[in-house]
Symmetry: C2
Subunit: 158 residues, 2 copies
């Protein structure tokens, strides 16, 4: 391994609820991250926008501000739990940061690469669900094409 | 770095004539490969099928077997030169293998992952030319979706 590689690198790992992103993180820890280096691992969870219910509001089906707040709180709790679980995998790494962002994961991940100065993006190959992927296209494909840094896509073996 | 990572890994790097694949190799050498490990680097060049000229054969434009043989020989020489240039970048790596295969790069690369037992595929994000990519789709996208191992896609910074 060259000296350059032992310098501080900022490794951005996209984390979601899926097993594949946790597998991607594990693979990265075993194959890319140096335990005693100055590498920083940034765990990024992107909360997707909640569905808009206003068009189906009515006497029998009202989602009011209170219910909206509950949905938001619940998605925040999910995000925090997922990131905590991911962080536990990184117990040998000194520099671990956790980020929760909001929006379309494809755009947010690519934006955060530049904002956080990431040297590499690590992600699972699926992520974000079969139906959503069919509708929106693969998050990993989008990032592989648009990210301004190398992208490591890890598929969980069947 | 964990003990697992220090075991022998088989790192397949897809090489073509483009600068981006050489950059991908350099990035991989700096960030992924251990100089004193048992990692094996496999440099793969895929020769694309030559165009079929038979339909335009005629008195004024004949490509005979002799001309075909010359084209094949020339593409073999290009392949060997490109791989030799790539190998020179790996001067600190003990185990370097070179492979020249023939066919559609998208299929051949995915097949070779399994045939060679690769633990990771490294490739440039473009490769194989703008027009060909527009016609056939991106090689790296195809591999990211179909490869049976993690895929590292490296884009050369502008």
């Amino acid at each position: 391994m060259s000296e350059v590689a032992q310098n501080e690198r900022r490794i951005l790992v996209a984390i979601d609820e899926g097993e594949e992103s946790m597998y991607a993180l594990s693979w990265c820890l075993k194959n890319l991250v140096f335990e005693n280096s100055k590498d920083t691992l940034i765990l990024l969870y992107v909360k997707r926008p909640r569905p808009i219910f206003s068009s189906i509001d009515g006497p029998d089906f009202v989602i009011n501000a209170d219910a909206m707040a509950k949905i938001d709180k619940s998605s925040q709790i999910v995000a925090e739990r997922v990131l905590e679980a991911a962080k536990r995998l990184c117990n040998n790494i000194q520099n671990v940061e956790m980020k929760i962002e909001y929006g379309d994961p494809r755009d947010v991940i690519c934006e955060m690469i530049q904002k956080l100065g990431a040297d590499i993006l690590v992600m699972g190959s699926h992520g974000y669900g079969v139906i959503k992927r069919a509708l929106l296209g693969s998050v990993s494909n989008h990032c592989a094409q648009n990210a301004k840094c190398p992208v490591l896509i890890v598929k969980k073996p069947k």
